[in-house]
């Protein structure tokens, strides 16, 4: 009895408010998951009813996976390739650049650092139209296949990821004492060895922050792939595939909602496992 009383006493109105707000925030997800297990008629008939047959979800998934406009597994593959390679390459290249910029104390290195940082104020919108022209020049004049390729998009992400990544690495490397590197040089390490064996492992916390920040950006990005790949391209990522699918027919809600569930699942699963890193990465990245 006493236990029940303390339970009610401690269950204050703020707790109830938070619970209600949580349900409001999650309701859109819940309702989409419910409706992904219905057919189109059932959805338009009563979008808030529970599905009669949950197994219909798998029918919808099968339809989605086989749809030529969506081609889910192909899009998932493209998204994974583009995101992983971009993340790895941005991380390593920016860390390398930031390291030599910190350790070389010349006016040139200071200017180059400010040059990178100035890239932070360049929004994608101002370069998106010229990139169409640039791609055409690279493709036809230079002769490198450029449109609708994985590497072109990855290369673009390396460019757009550099300003923030170089900035964050630069700030972090400044705080690493030089003694460690000098000791390594005395021990006979070459330049690359000093960096990859000694410095790079120390950068792990900021590397993780950047994985989170850049990862969510690249995985969810729509405008850059829209310009460089297009919704009809072979290397289209998940957002492009969903846009292509939604634009192809009069909306078939059951299939579109299933597509939304499938495209959200990878990130949500990742979040459940790496919640701590993701939240820490995103907030510390913003504050710096």
């Amino acid at each position: 009895m006493a236990r029940i009383q303390t339970f009610f006493k401690r269950f204050n109105w703020l707790e109830i408010l938070a619970l209600v707000l949580m349900i409001v925030f999650l309701y859109p997800f819940i309702i989409v998951v419910l409706n992904a297990s219905k057919d189109n008629i059932a959805i338009t008939d009563n979008p808030i009813a529970l599905p009669t047959d949950w197994l219909l979800f798998f029918r919808n998934v099968a339809d989605i996976v086989g749809d030529p406009n969506l081609n889910y597994f192909r899009a998932l593959f493209n998204s994974i390739i583009i995101t992983t390679f971009s993340l790895g390459l941005i991380g390593v290249s920016s860390a390398m650049a930031a390291w030599v910029l910190v350790r070389t104390k010349t006016r040139l290195s200071m200017t180059l650092f400010l040059f990178f940082v100035s890239g932070l104020v360049i929004p994608f919108q101002i370069v998106m139209l010229p990139i169409v022209e640039l791609s055409r020049v690279i493709q036809t004049t230079v002769g490198i296949p450029w449109k609708d390729t994985h590497y072109a998009v990855i290369f673009a992400y390396m460019g757009f990821g550099a300003p923030l990544s170089v900035f964050l690495f630069h700030g972090f490397i400044k705080s690493i004492p030089l003694d460690i590197e000098e000791a390594a040089i005395i021990d006979g390490c070459s330049r690359p060895e000093v960096f990859f064996r000694v410095v790079f492992p120390i950068l792990k916390p900021i590397f993780v922050t950047l994985l989170v920040l850049n990862g969510l950006w690249i995985w969810n990005d729509f405008l850059l792939p829209l310009i460089m790949i297009g919704t009809g391209g072979d290397t289209k990522t998940i957002p492009l595939a969903v846009a292509n699918f939604a634009g192809a027919y009069v909306i078939q809600w059951n299939l579109l909602l299933t597509a939304l569930v499938l495209s959200a699942i990878p990130v949500i699963i990742l979040f459940l496992f790496a919640q701590k890193y993701i939240i820490k990465g995103m907030t510390s990245g913003a504050i710096k």
Partner: protein, 316 residues
């Protein structure tokens, strides 16, 4: 030390050259893509905004500030520019109010506080495009036919812009909340305790102790939400496609010097207007002039924020 040993001097010179080599070798993997994919198109973009570029193979000619002069009488651009301003202002207000409220709530001693935080944060993990489709479903079916909350979808009525802002607030508030939580947790407990003993009530404590101590988080969040709002493209693309069309208000026509009312798109933001102008109307140069104008405004805000922050850091 080394001047008596010529061998060592030569070694040192060699070291300098190799230092320079390593400097550039380490720099290039980041510098090259940055130069080619960001700086080059940035320069091209500024040049193209002064030409009659059409995005195709047609030769482009320098036409001076013609495109920029055209923007002043371009009713659709002017309207979208003002819409973006209103959208950004309301967005900053909504997101920060909701985020700060949520942060205050979940920093109290609640049982499931981690679960609440995670739930508020989750919408931020999903991309703006997906979010737009998701809410199109919520607005057109769930809130109308399902819950009878609206007569007809707000996406086709007068309040489409507000409907868009609600979606973006839902998506973004949890992220900004995390920034406020981090700041609130840095407020020393004993300071709050001391003021409690001195007889300050909750509101006084918030105003005189908590708020000044987390001012930095406010600047960061305001700036972050503002810039994100200016760059909005994806959610408009999937939620409203810029629509619904509406008749342009009289003041707008007066502003651009036209007599008859025209149709404008009620939720078409700057990024969307640039995209549509280029890819639907083939007016690449005009679109690029809009982009440059937009960049200048964004840059002024960014520099202003840095300046403002620096000034306050000195004061503190």
């Amino acid at each position: 030390m080394t001047e008596t040993q010529p061998v060592k001097t030569r070694k040192k010179l060699g070291k300098k050259a190799s230092d320079r080599l390593w400097f550039w070798l380490f720099l290039l993997p980041a510098l090259l893509p940055f130069l080619l994919m960001v700086i080059t198109p940035f320069g091209m973009g500024i040049y193209y905004s002064f030409t009659n570029w059409t995005g195709g193979l047609n030769p482009t000619e320098w036409i001076g500030v013609e495109n920029y002069r055209g923007l002043l009488t371009d009713y659709r651009f002017v309207f979208s520019f003002l819409t973006t301003g209103i959208y950004a202002a309301l967005n900053v207000l909504f997101i920060n109010a909701v985020a700060f409220g949520l942060a205050l709530l979940v920093t109290r001693k609640l049982k499931l506080t981690n679960l609440y935080r995670a739930s508020f944060f989750i919408p931020n993990l999903i991309g703006g495009l997906i979010i737009g489709y998701l809410w199109r479903f919520i607005y057109t079916l769930v809130l109308t036919r399902g819950l009878n909350f609206f007569e007809s979808s707000p996406l086709i009525g007068d309040n489409a812009l507000i409907a868009l802002i609600v979606v973006v607030t839902w998506q973004y508030a949890g992220y900004i909340m995390m920034i406020y939580i981090a700041a609130l947790q840095n407020v020393p407990e004993d300071l709050i305790e001391a003021s409690r003993i001195d007889g300050a009530n909750a509101l006084q404590r918030l105003r005189n102790i908590t708020l000044p101590l987390i001012a930095q988080a406010f600047t960061v969040s305001l700036f972050l939400t503002l810039v994100t709002a200016f760059k909005q493209f994806d959610t408009v693309y999937s939620l409203t496609q810029g629509g619904p069309p509406q008749l342009s208000p009289q003041w707008l026509m007066n502003l651009v010097g036209m007599d008859n009312a025209r149709t404008v798109e009620s939720t078409e933001l700057v990024a969307n207007v640039i995209y549509n102008r280029a890819f639907s109307f083939n007016q690449f140069a005009e679109g690029q002039a809009m982009a440059v104008t937009f960049f200048v405004i964004l840059a002024i805000f960014s520099i202003g924020q840095v300046y403002f922050n620096k000034k306050r850091e000195v004061e503190l």
